[in-house]
Symmetry: C2
Subunit: 167 residues, 2 copies
Amino acid sequence: MEKKKTSPNISKNFMNHNHELCVESSLKDFKQHFIEKELKLTPLRLKVFQLLLKDHRPLGAYQILDLLRKDGFSSTPPIAYRVLDFLIEHGFVHKIKKLNAFVACSHPGNSHSPTFMICRKCEKVAEINEKESGLKFNKETSSEFKIEEAIIEFIGICKNCIKLEVI
Amino acid sequence: MEKKKTSPNISKNFMNHNHELCVESSLKDFKQHFIEKELKLTPLRLKVFQLLLKDHRPLGAYQILDLLRKDGFSSTPPIAYRVLDFLIEHGFVHKIKKLNAFVACSHPGNSHSPTFMICRKCEKVAEINEKESGLKFNKETSSEFKIEEAIIEFIGICKNCIKLEVI
DNA sequence: TAAGTCAATGTTATATTATAACATTACTAC
DNA sequence: GTAGTAATGTTATAATATAACATTGACTTA
Ligand SMILES: [Zn+2]
Ligand SMILES: [Zn+2]
Ligand SMILES: [Zn+2]
Ligand SMILES: [Zn+2]
C-alpha cells in the first residue's frame, strides 16, 4: 500500500484533517531525528513533545507542568523549561513569542527561522516555511544589517474561523 | 536657515548621527499628535516617552520604573504598564517581544505593524516601515489567513558593530 | 566490580515580567 | 459645590522564567 504524499498546506492545521496521521508522522520524524543525531530520547522528552502534538494549539510552560503532573512526572518549573530548551535547541519545538507558549515544530530536525500564523479565535497555530510564506526582504536591508535570527508571527483569523463567522 | 530633510536610513539608529536633532524631531511629532488627536499630554506620559528616546535602546518596564523613581515620579509597576499601554495603543511606542522591552516609535501617530532590527551586540534597535523593509508575502498565503497583526523582529548584528568586530 | 564521570532529572528558592482591584486626585460639566 | 471622569497612586498577586545545588542512573574504565 502506497502512502499518499500530500503537498504542504498552510491551512491544514486550522481545518479538519487526519490528525491521527499528523501526530503519527510527526512522532516518527521526531524519533528518527533522535537516532540520526544520536540524542537521548528520554520519557520526559517524548512526553513533552507528545503533549505539544495534541491539537496544534501552543501550550504554556505551566500548562505543560500541569499535564506532566497528571502523568506522574515531576512538575517543578525547571523540568519543563529544561526539556523545552533542549527541544528548541534541537529544532523540535518553537516558542511563540506572542503567547509565551510552545508548539511542536512542523519541519523538525533542521534549525530554521519559521513563520507562524496564529488564529486569535481558535487559538491554533500553523508554521510555514520560507518557501510557503513567500516572505522576502530586500537586498539593501541585508547589507545594512546581518540577520541571524528572525521572529515572524502573524496574528489574525484562520480560514476555518472566517467561515464560521460568516454563518 | 533651511532644515536638511534626510531620507530615511535603515542604519541611522546604529551609526553616529545627530541624535539631539533626532530626539527633538521625535518629540515635536509626539506633541503634535497629542494636539491633533486631542489626547492629554501628562508629565508622566511625556517623561516615559523621553526616557525611551534616550539612545535607541529599548527599556524594560522595570528599568523605566527605576528611572521614574529617580525623577520623583511614582514607580510601582502599574504606573509604567499603564502609560506604556496608552502610548502603544496610540502608536507612540512599540514592544519588542524578543526583549520584553519598549521603544519609541519612529513613525508615531499611525497604527502600523513595524519591523524591527535588533543588534545583539550594541543592543540598539531600528524600526523600519513596510516600504523600507521590502517585506512581502505571497497572495495565496493571505487568502488562507486574514492577517490582522504582524510581529516581525530580526535579531543580528548592525553595520556599526560589524565594522568594530573586523578591526 | 568499584570508582569515576557525565548527562538528565529532581528540588528549593528566587528573579523577572505583568495584571487585578481598589483608592485618591484633579479637572470638567452641570 | 456636586457629580462624573480620566489619570495616577497603592497594595497585592499572577504569570513567566532562571539560578543554584542535590540526586540518580547509565556508561566508562581501571
Ligand atoms: Zn494535525
Ligand atoms: Zn481559527
Ligand atoms: Zn537618534
Ligand atoms: Zn550594533
